[in-house]
Amino acid sequence: MKILIIEDEARIAKRIERMTRDFFDKETGILLCDSVENGLSIIDRNSIDLLLLDLNLNGEDGFDVLQNVVARSFQTIIISAYTDKAITAFGYGVLDFVGKPFDENRLTQAFRRFTSPEKQPNGDLQFLAVKKGKTIRLVPIKDIRYIKGAGIYTELHLSDNRIELHDKSLESLEKLLPSTFERIHKSFIVCWNEADKLIVEPGGKYSMLLKNAELLPVGRSKYKEIRHKMI
């Protein structure tokens, strides 16, 4: 596992590094970087799993950088002095927002979000940032019908029948998405508002009919839970 810390205050960077090392196991690779510019080039050259980013969100280009990083496959935790920008940051799809000053407990809590497989919805996600070539597009969450896992990517199926590719895995997205989204299959997350009915096909095959008449498979292990929810 690789973790990148972008923080320009040497003392704080060391503190984060120390606490990260304490939380994760010894094999975790930790990269340190003191500016966003250098950080972005490191991201391009290395594949990382988690980014701990100090972002001056009051600056004009703070959100450009934010969009750029949340569109990637890794999860992002913001560590910032501008605590009043937390909601906006969540809207863009960061895993957690740690306000400065922070203690070890708070940072550990953020790391738990990253490591635990369970969904920990914060309900604030507004967009998913999608990378298209060099540009970033923000896809509103309410436009998403369902999400299909496709290898290391995911496909976002939108209400206007377009499909967008996202770099994050289905597991990563599941952690970010609000509670209106439900994992129904190892390769599918569906928006609850789009679900019409649950269909049991002969041969013990379960499917979900969406309002636009599309049929999605439902995992055997998920069936009970979903049936319970639908009733």
Partner: protein, 550 residues
């Protein structure tokens, strides 16, 4: 625009009140002379001591029934007795008598005609007297018949209006003098306006002083000379005032032209006092209209109102009240000046408010420097770490932070602080930052003059930028070096940052920090400063030049 309407209404009100006046002074007696000219002339004898005798036959044609006793007004020089149909009705001064010199009479005198003698028909006015002085003036004798009551009342009515105006101008003059004395700015326009008001007050008083002081005929021309002098001064000052108010470009040229033309008018019309005064006012009006029209053209506030006021005064002077139109015209001009002055006062007030606002905004900005989240929260985070990891160093850090806060607190309300205090602030800030960034910061200074002052936290701001834009050195320190030089007409602070610069993606970093610096420099030095900040080989170079007042 409602103000303009109010102004117009006020001027119209002035007019209407004067209109009534003309009704009052209408004659209630019709009469005719039996001489061809209006004025009796060439009656003086050859020698100065000689007694003259003038007989003026008059035919009283009609009288108002309820007009009261008949009065006679005589205008003439000398000392004389007046007879109506051979009956003595009064005397003016004392004639030369053997051994006794003449006691000069005054120019205008009034006599009551006995009730029984004032009947319709032919009468003979006989004036017997002497004139030892001003014989060369060759002034004639003029008479007027009128009800005795009206003869006395009409000057009172004229004066009631004129004194009203005079009083207003006296108060205005005093007010503007006080304003000038007690104002810190000492604006020339205020003084000039005060002087104009005072001169105008004097003009009105001198013009009408004849009604309540018996001026001996020997001094008759003195009053007219004073009036001429006052008109001359006013005719120069009013256009000058407009030039100052409207920031007119060719002040000297136009003032010189005006002055010469006034002198020419004086010389060519020497002796014709009324005509000189009228020509003076024409010249004044013309130049003022040119200035105001120019101001209107340049879209300066109040220009159009002054043009309107001047044109109105021309119209009034020309067509409405011939005898004292001049004074009405002057009043309108002064009123438009007053209006202009209030506009200017308002502008000054607004500018003052804006500067107060700016000052408090800058104060706020200064205080915000240390409580804005980027500074405070990052510092606190580092501080927690220091306290957790090495409490003793943490205490040193806290001390440095407390000192920086102390200095910030001490300077927060000042616009200029001693340079030493600013340097202390910078050093404390560097100490705090060295704990945060774990970078060694060095401070050097050259030629600092301890007596100099500087706006608060401007070098501090440059240092903040320097810290952000410098790469931490592999070994050694980032050095900030402040030097001061004083030249003949400016002083200069140079702050050099010796470090490698970070590469920035955009040229946008000069934002709020530099705005703060220029606002502070503006606040204390107006436009007499120059700020420059650029990359050099060794790092970064910032210079602040402060010029002596230009």
């Amino acid at each position: 625009m409602y103000r303009f309407a109010f102004f117009t209404a006020f001027v119209l009100f002035l007019f209407t009140s004067c209109k009534q006046y003309t009704d009052y002074v209408k004659s209630d007696a019709s009469y005719s002379y039996y001489v061809n000219e209006d004025r009796v002339q060439d009656y003086l004898g050859k020698s100065a001591e000689a007694v003259f005798k003038v007989q003026i036959p008059v035919k009283l044609i009609k009288r108002d029934n309820n007009a009261g006793p008949l009065g006679l007004q005589v205008n003439g020089f000398g000392a004389f007795d007046v007879y109506w149909d051979g009956i003595f009705v009064g005397s003016n001064g004392k004639m030369v008598k053997s051994g006794q010199p003449e006691v000069a009479g005054t120019e205008t005198t009034y006599y009551e005609i006995p009730e029984k003698r004032g009947n319709i028909g032919l009468h003979m006015i006989t004036i017997i007297g002497t004139q030892t002085q001003l014989r060369e003036a060759n002034r004639g004798i003029d008479i007027r018949l009128e009800s005795f009551l009206r003869l006395h009342r009409s000057p009172l009515i004229v004066m009631s209006f004129m004194n009203l105006m005079a009083g207003a101008f006296l108060i205005a003059a005093i007010y503007y003098f006080f304003l000038y004395i007690n104002s810190t700015r000492k604006e020339t326009t205020v003084l000039v306006f005060g002087i104009i008001c005072l001169l105008f007050f004097c003009l009105l008083i001198i013009e009408y002083v004849k009604f309540y002081v018996d001026i001996p005929y020997t001094q008759f021309y003195t009053r007219l000379q004073i009036v001429g002098l006052l008109t001359f001064a006013i005719s120069i000052l009013v256009p000058w005032y407009f030039m100052l108010q409207f920031d007119f470009k060719k002040k000297r040229l136009f003032l010189f032209l005006l002055f010469t033309s006034l002198i020419v008018i004086y010389i060519t019309n020497y002796g014709h006092y009324d005509r000189t005064a009228i020509y003076f006012s024409y010249a004044m009006c013309l130049v003022s209209i040119i200035i105001a029209a120019n101001a209107t053209f340049r879209k300066i506030k109040g220009g159009s109102i002054v043009v309107a006021g001047l044109l109105a005064s021309v119209v009034v002077n020309r067509y409405i009240f011939y005898d004292f139109g001049l004074f009405i015209a002057f009043t309108i001009i002064v009123l438009s000046m007053l209006y202009l002055h209030t506009i200017r006062a308002k502008a000054i007030e607004e500018a003052h408010n804006a500067s107060l606002l700016l000052s408090s905004r800058l104060q706020l900005e200064l205080i915000k420097k240390n409580i804005q989240p980027h500074f405070l929260r990052n510092t606190l985070t580092s501080l927690i770490d220091w306290v957790e990891e090495s409490p003793q160093q943490g205490v040193v850090f806290i001390r440095a932070l407390a000192d920086e806060f102390d200095i910030m607190n001490a300077i927060s309300e000042d616009t200029l602080i001693p340079i030493r205090q600013e340097i202390e602030l910078c050093r404390k800030h560097l100490e705090v930052m060295s704990f945060r960034k774990e970078v060694c910061y060095d401070w050097e200074e050259k030629n600092i003059d301890e007596n100099e002052e500087i706006p608060p936290a401007i070098i501090h701001t440059i240092i903040e930028n320097g810290i952000t834009h410098s790469l931490p050195p592999k070994k050694g320190c980032i050095c900030f070096c402040l030097s001061f030089t004083k030249e003949k007409n400016y002083k200069e602070y140079t702050l050099q940052t010796i470090a490698k610069n970070r590469k920035t993606r955009k040229e946008k970093s000069n934002g709020t920090g530099f705005k703060y610096i220029s606002a502070r420099l503006n606040e204390s030095y107006g436009t007499n400063w120059h700020f420059d900040s650029h990359e050099v080989e060794e790092g970064w170079m910032t210079t602040i030049k402060i010029f002596d007042k230009r």
